[in-house]
């Protein structure tokens, strides 16, 4: 005999149809999510100088690890409220003929991809346009950005992202998960990954600028800049959702979200034979 406490709950026996489940978080969960978001935001704000310093350390370590040529360091200013940061300051490159050839080959590769893959075509088109703008900028001398200038722009954008990120991740990561603590760990993980990820991308962009001057920097700013930040958040979000969905499916975590059911209509809910776990029926020949 199983005691009532050991008996499986109704939603586990008869999973409610997806159309009638509610995903209502409890009030406490919302309060925890708000507190976590504001708390982490405040912590990042208070420790921002340390966060920026860690970012700079990772940047220099990754440049050193790749045995990249040493460059004179310039101190760059970030909004005045943060300590100046040392950034490799190669002068705007006199782009060699070889670099132009490499970039031309890149564009040719992009155009081949453009013809073959329809879904990513617009994205490739945008990147190609930016490479073209970079070439124009370099050849006309309109704007030649050196590594330090690029690093300054990069850090100014990243600092805003780091401070505001918890306001988004607080709700993204803490609401879908079963335990608030695991959601908070995801928040911390993504916040830390964001700093490391930014330093690695910046190191790559600085290497690009060393070899190709400003030719590829506009495209790099677009592809490896805020778009890559968003991508990281989305990857974290999708992993959280996939993990919570998997646990609920396996039954290791009781699903508390359903708020109501239809009396006398277990699981299948009045008719249409497809339940949540059924794959879509394909009736074609």
């Amino acid at each position: 005999m199983t005691s009532p406490a050991q008996q499986p709950s109704r939603p586990r026996v008869y999973p409610l149809h997806r159309a009638v489940v509610r995903a209502s978080p409890s009030r406490w969960r919302l309060i925890w999510a708000s507190l976590a978001a504001l708390g982490l935001c405040t912590v990042v704000w208070i420790w921002l100088p340390e966060v920026v310093a860690i970012h700079t350390r990772i940047l220099h370590a990754s440049l050193a690890w790749t045995r990249f040529p040493q460059a004179p360091l310039a101190l760059i200013n970030i909004y005045g409220i943060l300590p100046d940061q040392p950034m490799p300051a190669w002068p705007p490159a006199q782009v060699s003929r070889g670099a132009y050839i490499v970039v031309a080959l890149c564009v040719a590769g992009l155009l081949v991809a453009y013809r073959r893959t329809s879904l990513v075509r617009p994205f490739i088109g945008l990147v190609s346009a930016l490479v073209a703008a970079g070439i124009l900028g370099q050849m006309t001398g309109l704007r030649r950005i050196d590594g330090a200038q690029f690093g300054q722009m990069w850090l100014r954008a990243q600092v805003v992202v780091w401070v505001l990120l918890p306001l988004v991740t607080g709700f993204l990561f803490m609401i879908p998960v079963r335990r608030a603590a695991s959601g908070f760990l995801w928040m911390l993980g993504v916040q830390a990954a964001m700093v490391v990820w930014s330093a690695l991308r910046l190191a790559f962009c600085l290497m690009l600028s060393h070899f190709t001057g400003s030719l590829l920097l506009a495209a790099a700013w677009f592809v490896f800049g805020l778009l890559a930040d968003l991508l990281l958040v989305l990857v974290g979000y999708s992993l959280v959702l996939a993990s919570s969905a998997e646990k609920i499916r396996e039954g290791s975590v009781p699903d508390e979200t359903p708020q109501f059911g239809v009396p006398g209509d277990p699981g299948g809910v009045a008719g249409n034979s497809h339940t949540l776990r059924d794959p879509p029926v394909r009736t074609g020949a």
């Binding site: 997806r18 995903a23 209502s24 617009p122 088109g125 722009m153 954008a157 989305l234 999708s238 008719g271």
Partner: protein, 415 residues
Amino acid sequence: MVSLAILTLYAIRQYALALNRLRPGRRRYSASQENAIELSGYYMPRLTVIVPMHNEERVAADILRALTECDYDPDRLQVIAANDRSSDRTAAIIDRFAARHPFILPFHRTSGKPGKPGVLNDATPLITGEILLLFDADYIPGRNLLKLLAAPFADPAVGAVMGRVVPQNTGESLLSSLLCLERAAGYQVVQESRAMMGFSAQFGGTVGGVRMEALEAAGGWNIDTLTEDTDLTCRLILKGWKVAYVNRAECYEEVPASWSVRSVQLSRWVVGHTDCFHRFALPILRDRRLPLAERIDLFFLLSGYLTAPLLLLSWIASFLLFFIEPGPLAPGLGAGAAFIGCQMFGNQATFIEMGLAAHMDRARRQAMLIPLSLLSFFASTTSICAALLRYYRSRWFGGPADAWARTQRSRPVAP
């Protein structure tokens, strides 16, 4: 800055819808899903189902078979299989089913304006039901779907009803999987959330129906539009009818598996939808019978595709920021780029809606695809901009307008 402000307003609306979907409690409107499910099978008005078909030999048999297997009383059911100038085996398939099932009425159309609105208009005199339900030819209704869709009409205020569209060819390609995610967000979160707020749903012209009395009051089908569904939704709302949404009334469809097909479909929606925006946005905003929140929501709904060029402007602004020589503006440039960046990648609320839908559907694989939806976002934004460019060129300077184009099917041809 203006485009950023508009995009922010649009993002706020999307966030509000997503958060509302999370809110506990039941719907405000009486024709709620709970009522529809409980009434299903108890309220069975006389139904007419129209299935417009143009060269649909790949899918015609599937939907007709599914309709014959529905558990709706055959004496209260009429199915009009409307063949619109097909040159393949569609007519033969229809005739074969009509010979075996007396409630299937074949309607072979050989002339008239091509396209679904024209078919619906010409088939209207044949309708005998009080309620007209519509399905596109690639849809496969479940056994009790007709009962679920008929139930909300027990409320005399309901003029139209909409069910949930679920792709059946998820996994056929990356695009079809991403579209499955988009559909889930659009129905499981946005449509359901709007219904929870008491707002009228958007009638999608398939997996839905309209009360004949309401259709006549609204002036019938508009054959000059590319999106007769949105056009009818607006006219019904302006005439004081409600459009109900039943999340449980799921029907499987075939989504485009290649971008070339999707682009054609999207272009048709963009042109038709934007045309409806120009014709109905102001009358809806001025209609004081509707709650202010619903008017604002409908305005954003109709202007949804116009956010794509605003996004494009934001991208251009971001690139200009990159190339601007830093001077006194320097400290602001990075922050400006960050704020633009927050908006320019398709306002994140859309991704949150996708995640919420995947969470509620317990769809693990779909959840894993969320980062890849950035690809379809870029592709959609550029396709929408191109379609809008053609639309406004035609509207302001004359020239050929986009014509109605049927969505190509990828299902194998039935033997």
